[in-house]
Symmetry: C2
Subunit: 193 residues, 2 copies
DNA sequence: GTCTATAATTCGATAGAC
DNA sequence: GTCTATCGAATTATAGAC
């Protein structure tokens, strides 16, 4: 929340911390968890490597801080039901193009168990909660959320990680047109018997 | 030297080579490229680490040999057009469950540029070629193949890598029912205007 | 708060005996 | 073909001077 904050003035180290986190996100996104070294991150942030350890304790602690993420999903109850898929794809694409944190998380989740756990938490909690706003069966809700995650993460994986040419060259609007009906059916479609 | 003799008999080292490749696939699939060490792979195969170097030259060479992969896509021209999506999902799921090579490739592609390049090659060549059997516009064909890849790789990523609970718990048959219509539309649907 | 120096591992790769 | 020994490099993390 806002703070019952005493006259706490911003510490001078806050700027340094922010620079470290920014560099960390870039490196983790570009190189993955194990290839992104504390030395390289510190060099990018133009500070000494030991400062990273001082501020974040360990490489895992640094990643945990750098990979903090909120999907910022819109309130789905205020979206016309027929446009749920479109709104959701567009939101994810915008969220991805504008913030490399999710790319860092995605890449790291492939090899780092902690990152995978965090990814599970984000989608299990935030996405499933959003889907649960219209639907009663918990099992079906979880499955719908999982299917949406499979398409959305596959989109990110092929576009930002593996960089399949046709997925890189296609504009966000075109991707939305193709993928929206998929999410729409996963969200609201009749379950197959 | 000795042999102009093509009746090549199996060398004794072939068994060793096969054991190395099997262990390599397991380790690359479980740990990714950088965490899978030559030492660990050799230990699994119960041989000396230096033998791996002798046979495959380098870690990259070992991965290149271990990640050789063929999607073994069926001939899509002999499939009823309305069932293309179903046939394709079922094929991919079977191919994935039965051979961990693709999981190894998927995990490694997240952090290793060479593995990503191989992944691009597999989907750009094999999958695009299969899609090209029905369709004339090369750009549209590539896009259809890319979209199929995004859903199929997203399925694999959420089920085998991140292990999202709802995607792990769902049976292959149920997954086919949900995902088949998606692939069907990506393959044969009218392009959005 | 910042930096130097270094400990303690671990890895890929090489050399060479047998 | 197989193994021992080891090199050289890179990493995270710590200790301590200033």
């Amino acid at each position: 929340m806002t703070s019952s904050a005493p006259p706490t003035q911003p510490r001078r180290s806050d700027a340094t911390r922010a620079a470290i986190l920014r560099a960390a996100r870039e490196r983790f996104a570009a190189d993955g968890y194990e290839r992104a070294t504390i030395r390289a991150i510190a060099a990018d942030a133009q500070i000494d490597p030991s400062m990273v350890m001082r501020y974040y304790g360990s490489k895992e602690g640094l990643f945990a801080a750098a990979a903090e993420f909120d999907l910022r999903l819109p309130d789905l109850t205020s979206v016309p039901p027929a446009r749920l898929g479109e709104v959701l794809v567009r939101h994810f694409l915008a969220r991805w193009e504008g913030d490399e944190t999710l790319v860092a998380l995605l890449r790291a989740a492939s090899t780092n168990p902690g990152a995978a756990e965090r990814m599970r938490g984000i989608f299990a909690n935030q996405l499933t909660a959003a889907v649960a706003t219209f639907g009663t069966d918990p099992t079906l809700t979880a499955r719908r959320a999982g299917l949406v995650a499979s398409q959305v993460l596959g989109l990110a994986f092929t576009r930002y990680i593996v960089r399949l040419p046709p997925m890189v060259d296609t504009t966000p609007d075109e991707l939305v047109s193709w993928v929206a009906p998929t999410l729409q059916r996963y969200l609201t479609g009749t379950p197959p018997s």
